[in-house]
């Protein structure tokens, strides 16, 4: 039987190590959704019984600066080499990047070293002169969402909830948004390649939801690195996110799930901005479409308390989704501090409905 191009890519799988991971944190994620990475580590350690090392010595990969045209390639290459050196020193071989920009950077450096071997040699010498360190190439390099994909069936087996509307019994309609640098640069490093990417769609299928296939599914969220970082240039970012929201609106999605820290942030916050500036809301009854990371979604179906995994740090209210999933929650606990103390609550936007 001859397979069509989409069928070939849809079945395309990459190697994802089974255990013993070295975890590299994300700059954006730990600030904007500060509970997400701890939740990821908890799911791997406590639910899946895996060994994953969170190294206090690691740093940024500098990818945001690099993609903003700020630093030389030799600099980021050597910073990446230091991260690999830390992995080697810690006795690990399987590198897991929490950030999609970082994942793209790590892959790009490995591919550059393959195609231009002198750059690897120069990097080794630069790293040794600067830090005295040396490194081994990772045996396995994946994005954090790849590991959740690999163990999606195990997570489903332990889940308390399915991506099904508890009131109607119908599957929830879920938009998957894949960060551009996950597979657009090097399609063979992404599950399903660049066009038929399956890393999040596989979670939706396995956990009972229904994929939303809309025209701008593969369009960029609009980060644009320097285009967002500069206040003067942010029209680029919000305009591209709006292009996606307008395109998905007719399909009435219940949820957006993303695997890139920047994308999760922009798809959440630009809904707030579009509501306040244009009076447009994309969810039901004046709410937005909730935007979750893949581990937040896994955490919800596994039964974690929404406010313990940081869902109150999203600007778009998640309560409409919790109610569809049939998850009970205590609204009084949402904005409490560490000891249950009253620390006030965020002011309400004028247009976007929030709790």
């Amino acid at each position: 039987m001859t397979l069509r191009k989409n069928e070939i890519w849809a079945q395309y799988q990459k190697e994802i190590a089974d255990n013993h991971y070295y975890f590299a944190r994300s700059c954006i994620r730990q600030n904007i959704f500060p509970a997400a990475e701890n939740l990821y580590l908890q799911i791997l350690k406590d639910i899946l019984g895996k060994d994953i090392f969170d190294d206090p010595m690691q740093t940024t990969c500098t990818g945001i600066a690099y993609h903003s045209g700020l630093i030389p390639m030799e600099t980021i290459m050597t910073v990446v080499a230091r991260q690999f050196a830390l992995m080697s020193e810690a006795g690990y071989e399987n590198f897991v990047a929490s950030c999609v920009t970082s994942f793209g950077i790590y892959v790009e450096m490995l591919e550059t070293w393959k195609h231009f071997p002198e750059t690897e040699q120069n990097t080794r010498e630069s790293l040794r002169r600067a830090t005295g360190k040396t490194f081994r190439i990772p045996k396995n390099l994946v994005h954090a969402s790849d590991v959740i994909y690999k163990f999606r069936k195990e997570i489903a087996a332990k889940a308390k909830y399915k991506l099904v509307n508890a009131n109607t019994g119908k599957p929830l309609k879920v938009v998957d948004h894949i960060g551009c640098h996950y597979a657009k640069i090097f399609p063979s490093y992404g599950i399903g390649g660049a066009e038929y990417t399956y890393v999040l769609a596989g979670l939706i299928d396995e956990w009972g939801g229904e994929q939303v296939d809309y025209p701008e599914r593969r369009h960029c969220c609009g980060f644009g690195f320097r285009q967002y970082l500069l206040k003067s240039n942010r029209g680029y970012s919000v305009a591209n996110s709006k292009k996606k929201f307008d395109s998905m609106l007719p399909f009435k999605p219940d949820l957006i799930v993303a695997n890139c820290p920047g994308c999760t942030f922009f798809l959440d916050r630009w809904q707030y901005v579009i509501a306040e500036k244009e009076g447009i809301t994309y969810g039901e009854n004046g709410y937005g479409i909730p935007v979750l990371t893949y581990e937040e979604l896994a955490g919800l179906i596994l039964g974690y308390i929404p406010w313990n995994i940081g869902l109150q740090t999203h600007q778009v209210a998640v309560e409409p989704l919790l109610e569809k999933l049939g998850i009970e929650y205590d609204p009084e606990q949402k904005y409490k501090g560490i000891d249950g103390e009253d620390i006030g609550r965020p002011s309400l936007p004028d247009v976007l409905k929030c709790f």
């Binding site: 954006i28 206090p56 195609h115 003067s232 901005v273 006030g344």
Partner: protein, 227 residues
């Protein structure tokens, strides 16, 4: 070959990015920057492919090379294996090295990137850090962020982070040894010199424009960041 092209030809991103453009325009059709402005990556590839030194110099002094968002959608789509974004990356580096970046409004904005993300890397070990992200600079962060930020001492504990602590975990302090390593890498590989060039050329431009130039969020920073 001309002086500027000689430098470009040594950049692996230029070598890898330009295989041979057939002017089909697919890169422009998928480009998010082209979707929201008159930016046209096809034209940039066309110019560098012609190897015309004066046109290249104009490119390095212009706004166009700074419009790209580096999403790299163009790499996936080009039927001939070109990567316009890689060419842009090489051009941006050359524009800073030659000082041409201060000749364009968009190029001048590199000073604001250097003084935010660039300095955060060497100060915090990360490109982004909650203490630096306020609503004045990032109003789209919205009321939830404002609330989180004001209550971060309590909330970061509730969310099990290591904010301001010397251990592993989310938002932990980066060890001084790691910050020192970053600085030494920047010194060794041209990152520090790149920062110094951005400051030096920007200082000259600020003087020419009559805008106050010191450090941090001075008038020239605000001009490049906001306008």
């Amino acid at each position: 070959m001309s002086a500027l092209f000689k430098v470009l030809e040594k950049d692996v991103r230029f070598i890898e990015g330009l295989k041979g453009c057939i002017d089909c325009g697919v890169c422009t059709s998928v480009c998010p920057a082209a979707a929201v402005s008159d930016y046209d990556p096809r034209m940039i590839v066309d110019i560098v492919q012609k190897r015309d030194e004066s046109e290249l110099e104009e490119l390095l002094k212009g706004d166009a090379i700074w419009r790209c968002g580096e999403c790299l959608s163009c790499k996936t789509r080009c039927p001939r294996g070109n990567t316009p974004c890689y060419i842009i990356q090489a051009l941006r580096g050359l524009s800073i090295e030659t000082g041409f970046f201060i000749e364009s409004e968009q190029g001048r904005k590199q000073l604001a990137i250097k003084r935010t993300v660039g300095e955060h890397i060497l100060k915090y070990g990360y490109c982004v850090y909650i203490d630096e992200v306020d609503l004045e600079m990032y109003p789209e962060q919205g009321p939830v962020w404002d609330w989180l930020r004001k209550n971060r001492t309590s909330m970061m504990k509730r969310l099990s982070t290591s904010y301001k602590e010397n251990r592993s975990g989310t938002l932990r302090n980066t060890a001084q040894e790691s910050l020192d390593d970053l600085k030494k890498i920047f010194d060794e590989t041209g990152g520090t010199q790149r920062f110094e060039k951005i400051e030096k050329y920007s200082s000259a431009k600020a003087k020419e424009l009559g805008v106050d130039f010191k450090e941090g969020k001075d008038d020239y920073f605000r001009y490049t960041y906001n306008e």
